[in-house]
């Protein structure tokens, strides 16, 4: 038997590490990877509650989160490719202008 709070604690830790990566990392690809880490932390909480409440909805929500994450990864990586082609840098501090 594992307490539900253990799963939620792991979920919170992963989410906070994702936030830390999102804020502190310098290159744009790692910032994007940190977003995926945050989504994974939230997914774990969904599945744990789905098990605790004996309802399947949590699993379905995780499915939709994954689908949206896949679409987001496709569009986001395309944007990163376009930005890096234009600005020739991966540093988020140097991507300060939306124009050109």
């Amino acid at each position: 038997m594992v307490p539900l709070s253990y799963y939620l604690a792991l979920s919170a830790i992963l989410f906070c590490l994702g936030v830390a990566g999102f804020i502190f990392k310098q290159d744009i690809i790692t910032v994007f990877i940190s977003i995926e880490l945050m989504l994974n932390g939230v997914n774990l909480a969904f599945v744990a509650f789905s098990h605790a409440l004996r309802q399947i909805d949590g699993n379905i929500f995780v499915f939709f989160v994954m689908v949206v994450a896949a679409a987001e990864a496709a569009v986001g990586l395309a944007i990163i490719i376009a930005v890096v082609r234009n600005r020739n840098t991966l540093d988020v501090d140097q991507m300060t202008r939306l124009r050109d």
Binding site: Y6, Y7, V62, I81, L90
Partner: protein, 185 residues
């Protein structure tokens, strides 16, 4: 035994996430995230969510992370030198984040400390998931497919564009648009 399994893979997931933060090269961060995803897939199996566990491995660790690694390779991404002011932000921000995590965990422990989850108590197999997905969640499912279509089109439009410097582009276009179009070929 279930608790042991949970703890092993929880430690693996947290270690992978910390390694993601520590590494400077993006390819190591991406591979650390694959570790986290595999560890979470095992956690899903312990929770009885078979469908989600396998989707996690196939779609997340398989498809999405391959896309990440592919883009890192295409861009030939290297290490980015840390900015001097990010050190100050880390000294202030990391304790605040740790405090936030401790607060959340404390709240969670107070609210759900008594609930125990047993192995195999609630098994979600693919059949019930499909039933729910195509009955109760049919409209979101269809909307999602439209989202995917738009996403694929957007990705192609963004990534396949030939980029010219904006100023030179505007000037040539104003002067002689036909010559510029011919010059592109």
């Amino acid at each position: 035994m279930q608790l042991t399994l949970f703890l092993i893979f929880a430690v693996l997931a947290v270690a992978g996430a910390v390694n993601l933060l520590v590494q400077r090269h993006p390819i190591y961060s991406a591979l650390s995230l694959v570790t986290v995803m595999f560890a979470l897939a095992v956690e899903y199996l312990i929770l009885g969510a078979e469908f989600i566990a396998f989707i996690q491995v196939i779609v997340y660790a398989g498809a999405i992370m391959v896309l990440f690694v592919f883009v890192i390779m295409v861009l030939n991404a290297g290490e980015v030198a840390p900015a001097p002011k990010s050190r100050v932000a880390a000294w202030i921000g990391l304790p605040v984040l740790a405090l936030f995590a401790i607060l959340v965990i404390g709240q969670v422990y107070g609210a759900f400390g008594a609930t125990q989850l047993g192995l195999g108590e609630y098994l979600v197999q693919t059949g019930p998931v499909g039933n729910s997905l195509f009955h109760d969640f049919l409209l979101p499912f269809e909307v999602t497919s439209v989202l995917f279509l738009v996403g694929v089109l957007g990705a192609v439009v963004l990534a396949a564009r030939q980029n010219k410097p904006a100023l030179a582009h505007a000037q040539t276009e104003a002067e002689e648009p036909k010559a510029m179009a011919a010059g592109q070929r």
